[in-house]
């Protein structure tokens, strides 16, 4: 076996490594730019954050090299213990964590502090890979689906208990991995439906949402009915009716009429022996309608005004005071927008210095890209990410071992979530949930854990001719 392992060892994927290195370099330059002020070179030059990040880049590369020296089999063998250790840290931090602005997510060792939720991401990926890579385990079995969901949900709930909702949401991206590995699509569709309805219920009153939901149910049911009448005519009549009813705010009569229609269609489906479909669609409509009511109720009566405000900043910015809660996001958008096509030039930014933009070196580092490098630079960074993500997907698909493939999809999902939500939030597309931009944001703990995440993948990939069991 040892001989074969030697033969199976290939070099690390240099394309992925170069893309990683490119992002890290861009990140360092941006951190340098944030700290740099034209008149005070002696203060900021190499001191402060740029210097500290430089050291962390060194440490991260060192850690990457160490990981490539570890046998690939190690990660397979110790996937569960690593996961266990990750959970242990997540529990520890609940008791011994340092509380920073309302969340208890940092373990402080004096000289070094880190977030166990970062280690938890890798541990969960490994565990998921270990579980799904096991012979005879398939997501066709309900039990396996449950266990796989549990593997993701457990650390997610622990992170949520720390009060760090942003990081907890990151774990939900791992359901993408389960989708790739054969999880049926219905839960995903329902999940998306529930999310959309839930979010919509924060903004709109429940009845119009229910009307839309019932309309969807009618369309779905009608398209599944075998009949001589062309149902498209029915739909052509319903769409303008809905629009007119909505316009004159006659939503309650509409809702009643559509409910009757849905029940009728369900009856027809039952006659055609399609009861499960009718139950599914009808059930979903009822559950979603209930969600529309409860979501609206929760938003208006349970949430504190500052929590409502935070949601409004994302969903209904026009309702927020421009110099109040909206201020940070406005500053961030201003900074990015002011870059124009080509940007103001490296070190020439003015808004991403002196804290005009919040968290300008960490979560809002993309503002500096936008301001100093303009649209071209922003596009460059987005494309770098996209290339890296696709490269990881290519790596994933070329594996012989399901273990590595699952792990690779996990890495890609986590990176994508961070990338999309972080950049999205700087531009007001996504709610501000305070997660860093991988490889670019300032912060040793974040850089190191993302590097380890990548390094394990590259190490596993270099042994892709091996099949783990």
């Amino acid at each position: 076996m040892t001989k074969r392992k030697e033969k199976n060892a290939l070099a690390v994927d240099y394309i992925a490594f170069s893309l990683y290195l490119g992002l890290v370099m861009v990140g360092w330059l941006m951190i340098y730019a944030v700290g740099f002020t034209p008149d005070r070179t002696e203060y900021y030059g190499m001191g402060g954050r740029a210097w500290s990040q430089m050291i962390w880049i060194g440490i991260s590369l060192g850690a990457g090299i160490i990981i490539t020296l570890i046998e690939s089999r190690f990660f397979r063998t110790f996937a569960y213990p690593i996961y266990g250790f990750g959970l242990f840290l997540l529990i520890i931090v609940l008791f011994f964590g340092k509380e920073i602005s309302g969340s208890r997510s940092w373990l402080d060792f004096g000289f070094f502090s880190f977030q166990p939720s970062e280690i938890g991401k890798m541990a969960t990926c490994l565990c998921l890979a270990g579980f799904l890579g096991t012979f005879n385990i398939s997501l066709k079995q309900a039990r396996s689906r449950l266990i796989a969901t549990g593997i993701i949900a457990l650390p997610m709930l622990l992170v949520l208990a720390q009060g760090d909702a942003g990081s907890a949401l990151v774990y939900s991206s791992l359901f993408l991995v389960l989708f790739r590995e054969g999880m049926p699509p219905v839960p995903y569709i329902l999940g998306i439906l529930i999310s959309v309805v839930g979010i919509a219920s924060f903004v709109f009153s429940p009845i119009p949402i229910i009307v839309i939901l019932l309309l969807l149910a009618i369309i779905l049911m009608a398209s599944n009915i075998k009949t001589e009448i062309n149902v498209n005519y029915l739909l052509l009549a319903l769409l303008p009716l809905t629009a007119v009813g909505m316009y004159f705010e006659q939503t309650i009569p509409l809702a009643i009429a559509y409910s009757v229609l849905v029940i009728t269609l369900a009856g027809i489906l039952f006659n055609q022996n399609k009861l499960p479909l009718a139950l599914l669609i009808g059930g979903a409509a009822i559950v979603a309608s209930g969600l529309a009511f409860s979501g609206n109720y929760i938003f208006n009566n349970v949430l504190q005004p500052h929590q409502q405000e935070r949601i409004n900043v994302w969903l209904q910015p026009h309702k927020c005071k421009p110099l109040g809660s909206l201020y940070n996001i406005t500053q961030s958008k201003l900074a990015i927008g002011s870059g124009g096509i080509a940007g103001k030039g490296f070190l020439e930014g003015t808004l991403t210095k002196y804290n005009y933009v919040p968290e300008q070196a960490t979560d809002f580092i993309f503002c500096t890209v936008g301001e100093e490098q303009g649209f071209l630079g922003s596009m460059g960074v987005i494309l770098l990410y996209l290339l890296l993500l696709f490269r990881i997907l290519i790596i994933a698909e070329r594996q012989r071992s399901q273990f590595t493939r699952v792990y690779a999809y996990g890495v890609a999902s986590i990176l994508f979530f961070h990338f999309f939500v972080n950049i999205g939030m700087t531009m007001g597309l996504m709610p501000v949930i305070g997660i860093p931009l991988p490889f670019i944001s300032y912060g040793g703990s974040s850089l190191l854990s993302f590097t380890i995440l990548m390094a394990v993948l590259l190490k596993l990939d270099s042994n892709r001719l091996l099949v783990f069991r």
Binding site: T37, P38, D39, R40, L176, F179, R180, E181, G182, K321, L323, G324, Y327, Q331, K333, L334, A335, I336, G337, S338, G339, G340, I341, T350, L351, K353, Y354, Y356, G370, E371, G374, F375, S378, M379, I382, L383, Y385, L386, L389, F390, L393, A396, E397, R400, S401, Q402, Y409, A412, F416, F419, F420, I423, G424, M427, L429, V467
Partner: protein, 626 residues
């Protein structure tokens, strides 16, 4: 061997998701950075700025509630270099009444200097008066990057009292360093007088506001709805002990003379009048564009108007020391009120001879003070110094020094003004150093000049006025002070001004001295100080302090009325000859004015004479000496 993979096509879903995500971000970037140009315009404009709200500085009132010092509006013009755009500099300079060179100099700072930065607002032009700024403000919108900051500067109702009131100055770098988050560059701080002594009460607490400005420097609104704003707290108003009418009168009398007038209310230690002449008009030092020039001129004036003679000029007291010596000698038992010493026109000891003048027989302390007999007090001094033996003058002198210390001599009294000096009282150590035992040492005749208030003895006018108050009170006194009260009653003036002190002299001994001082005015050396009111008898003592550099200084200290005194004062007029010539008349006029409110008809001539007297050496002549 490939593993079973039935969901291979699902990778496309994920790829499409990733692609879609990136495209959404790109589209949003495109919208923010390219389509929507308002962001580029807005970004350069909306800048948060901290605006300091300056508290209004506490006002100063006189003892009768006349407002002396108030606040005037004035503006500083600030600029943020990065926000300045093409503009009509000619119009700008004309409006502000500055030259283009000034403009360039004020705008282009040394950017390597830590104090300036292109992104940070700095003061472009200080001290713009209300009228100029109002005119400029109408056109402010044409000059992006500039904005005005309201400042309070001092205004003065009266031209008198400059040395008491002091002035404010821009804070020095050292003061900023020493204070903990109190001062910032460009703040004004009390630099002298009461302004400095009560700085921490007068200054108040600064507030701050955060505002958003557009690129025209105009305030767009509050930052974060003003949650971080703090309003300023005004400084405390203070009431000084000065009587501004008396102060103005005394200053008028001291015009064209060098010297000082310090008047104290004996029962409280409150300073009624505090004149150092030559002085200046406090209004000259109000903060405006002309101020630096005016300040420099005052500094360069050879008459040294900034020099506070009442606190810092140390003169030999001359004959006014005699009553004090008499008190100490009586307390020590070396002198009785009735002890006579005949005077033959001089004091003599071996070869030593101290001259006296012709006067009648001094048969007791009263008459000795009345005639200011040098012989009498030389004998008294020797008896005090030789109390512990002729060869042990050290102990005698040090005992005397201890008494003088209790009289507030030889050290600053602790008045609430900066830079007070303490004068000089020679101790035995001092003489031991000059006349070491190895060279024969020193004995009482060697320091005989102390007996007549000359020699190494140095007193400030304030100390002399305080001596008058001590005698007026028959031994007790309050440390002289200029703070009467804070306008807000919950604040008390410092404790040292509320607790009376006592000199270790039996009150009985004061009667002889007070009688003697009354005789000085009724039938002695200062009859000119007589007011002519039956119920107001002035008690005083003239002195002439020898001046090796020119004419002697004329000094007079007095209190009135004799019983239940209302005012005690010291007047020093430099280079004016003996005490009765200027110091005594000026004292009597100040006393009369304070006690009766005007000057009796028969003394108007004296008032005119004093008001008109000019004994200053010509400024030009003085300048040529230097």
């Amino acid at each position: 061997m490939a593993e079973q993979d039935n969901y291979n096509e699902r990778r496309y879903v994920i790829q499409i998701l990733f692609l879609l995500g990136a495209l959404i971000l790109l589209a949003k970037c495109f919208q923010l950075q390219i389509i929507d140009t308002t962001y580029q315009a807005k970004a350069s404009s909306n800048v948060i700025q901290k605006i300091t709200e300056y508290p209004s500085r506490g006002m100063i009132y006189d003892r009768n509630d006349s407002l002396l010092v108030y606040n005037n509006a004035m503006y500083d013009l600030w600029v943020t270099y990065n926000q300045v755009e093409e503009m009509d500099t000619t119009k700008f300079c004309t409006l502000l009444n500055i030259t283009k060179e000034d403009f360039k100099k004020n705008l282009n700072k040394d950017w390597s200097d830590i104090r300036y930065a292109k992104w940070k607002p700095f003061i472009f032009l200080k001290r713009i008066d209300k009228v100029t700024f109002a005119r400029f403000q109408e056109s402010l919108y044409e000059f992006p990057g500039f904005y005005g900051q309201l400042r309070n500067v001092r205004g003065y109702r009266y031209s008198a009292g400059a040395h008491v009131l002091g002035y404010i100055n821009e804070v020095t770098p050292q003061q900023i360093k020493d204070s903990i988050d109190i001062y910032e560059r460009g703040d004004y701080v009390g630099a002298n007088g009461l302004e400095r002594a009560y700085e921490k009460d007068l200054r108040g607490i600064k507030g701050e506001r955060y505002v958003l400005r557009n690129n025209f420097g105009l305030v767009q609104g509050k930052y974060k709805e003003g949650v971080r704003d703090e309003t300023a707290t005004s400084g405390r108003d203070i009431k000084t002990t000065i009587d501004i009418n008396l102060q103005m009168y005394a200053e008028a009398l001291m015009k064209n003379k060098r010297g000082s007038v310090v008047a104290i209310e004996p029962s409280t230690g409150e300073v009624l009048t505090f004149v150092s002449s030559p002085n200046y008009d406090p209004r000259v030092l109000t903060i405006n564009r002309q101020r630096p020039k005016a300040f420099a001129e005052l500094l360069a004036d050879p008459l040294k108007p900034f020099f506070n003679r009442a606190l810092m000029a140390e003169y030999p007291p001359g004959s006014i020391f005699k009553p004090i010596l008499a008190l100490v000698a009586m307390e020590q038992g070396e002198l009785n009120a009735g002890t006579p010493y005949a005077c033959k026109g001089y004091y003599e000891y071996n070869d030593l001879r101290v001259g006296c003048h012709a006067h009648t027989y001094t048969y007791n302390v009263q008459t000795a003070i009345q005639h200011s007999c040098n012989n009498y007090f030389c004998i008294v001094l020797r008896s005090v110094i030789d109390k512990y033996g002729f060869s042990n003058p050290q102990e005698g002198l040090d005992t005397l020094v201890n008494y003088l210390d209790a009289f507030g001599l030889g050290h600053p009294l602790g008045i609430d003004l900066p830079s007070e000096l303490g004068g000089n009282i020679p101790t035995s150590d001092y003489y031991d150093r000059i006349y070491p035992e190895t060279k024969g040492g020193w004995r009482s005749p060697g320091i005989i000049s102390i007996g007549i208030g000359q020699g190494e003895l140095l007193l400030t006018p304030l100390q002399i006025a305080n001596l008058a108050a001590i005698i007026a009170n028959r031994g007790s006194y309050y440390t002289p002070h200029l703070i009467k009260e804070f306008k807000e009653e919950e604040f008390l003036i410092p404790e040292e001004y509320r607790i009376p002190k006592r000199v270790p002299i039996d009150p009985i001994h004061f009667e002889a001295v007070v009688d003697g001082m009354e005789r000085v005015v009724t039938s002695g050396t200062a009859q000119i100080a007589q007011l002519g009111y039956k119920n107001i008898s002035v008690c005083g003592k003239t002195g002439t302090s020898e001046n090796p550099h020119g004419d002697d200084h004329s000094v007079f200290f007095a209190f009135a009325p004799k019983h239940n005194p209302k005012i005690a004062l010291a007047v020093y007029v430099e280079n004016s000859g003996f005490g009765a010539r200027y110091a005594a008349p000026i004292s009597s006029l100040v006393i009369e004015k304070y006690l009766t409110g005007n000057i009796a008809e028969h003394r108007k001539y004296l008032e005119q004479q004093m008001l008109n007297a000019n004994i200053l050496i010509d400024r030009k002549k003085l300048a040529s000496f230097q």
